[in-house]
Amino acid sequence: MKAELELKLQAYLDGELSAGDAREVDASLAHDPEAQQLLAELRTTVGVLRDNEPLMPLPESRDFYWSKIERAIESAQPERVQPLLAFWYSLRRILVPVAGVALVLFLGIASLKVNTVSDPLAHLAEVESLSEHVSSFSFRSQSQNMFVVWLHENADEQAATDSDDDFDDAVLQ
């Protein structure tokens, strides 16, 4: 049997064929036992499905059913939190950002301290005379925040020569 005829038989059974097509199917059924058998099977299947479809009637109307759910949602009370737990939650809400800011400040100040830490030996200096004719002494004025190196010609050298090599006078010339 052709697939086209099978489809037409289904449509015939459902009453969806035009009058012309229905007459054509009637003619085919008259001399085609296979088509007759298929039609009988289809009729049986439709009948079984129609008679045995389970029905689940709602106890109330659809609108009433959903309105009940909506009312239940609206009237739902938030879960009560224990007072101690609630206090902890509110405290945590404050403590977390405060702790974060404190940590940042601590790290910032610590880093600045690292960067600007004053070396207790910072005032120490090495002063070296590179000429045998020149001596030096140094001191630090704490009040003026000044470190001073004072250069002077050695006394015996100075007495011996009033030479052109007098460094002290030469600097300003």
Binding site: L107, S111, A122
Partner: protein, 148 residues
């Protein structure tokens, strides 16, 4: 999965910490120094420019001379671990080297001959002065301060 409430402040703190550590190399950048040759005298002079009042006060409070005048003023940038020669007068040059610490080494060279060497940790606001007697009961000073 819930996120830890400490996560964001912690991330911020870590980022800040890293940023501060990354700032360390910036500190090791050029050392900007101001070097002045100053003449100290008991006699006033109209020919020379007096030092600024702050330095004048510092020098007056430390030394015996009444008047201090700027003869030369040189600002120099010294890259890390490098040396710069600064000519402060015809016969006198100073060689300043930036050292680890940060320290500076100041070598005074008079008439081409090294006279003294000073190695000192320099701090902002501190004044390093190398001086000596000059004729007519005057004095000379090489005043070094850190600008940056």
């Amino acid at each position: 999965m819930s996120r830890s409430p400490f996560r964001r402040p912690f991330q911020f703190a870590v980022a800040l910490f890293l940023a501060m550590f990354l700032a360390f190399p910036v500190q090791a950048a050029n050392l900007k120094l101001d070097a002045k040759l100053v003449w100290g005298s008991d006699e006033p002079s109209k020919e020379h420019k007096p030092v600024d009042p702050a330095l004048a006060a510092t020098l007056t409070n430390t030394f015996k001379w009444k008047h201090y005048y700027v003869i030369t003023n040189v600002v120099t940038d010294i890259p890390s671990r490098e040396t710069r020669k600064v000519k402060i007068s015809e016969p006198c040059t100073i060689e300043i080297t930036e050292l680890e610490g940060p320290k500076i080494e100041v070598k005074v060279i008079g008439k081409g001959k090294p006279v003294s060497k000073t190695v000192k940790q320099i701090q902002k606001g501190e004044v390093i002065t190398i001086g000596g007697d000059a004729e007519n009961k005057c004095a000379w000073f090489i005043v070094i301060t850190q600008l940056e």
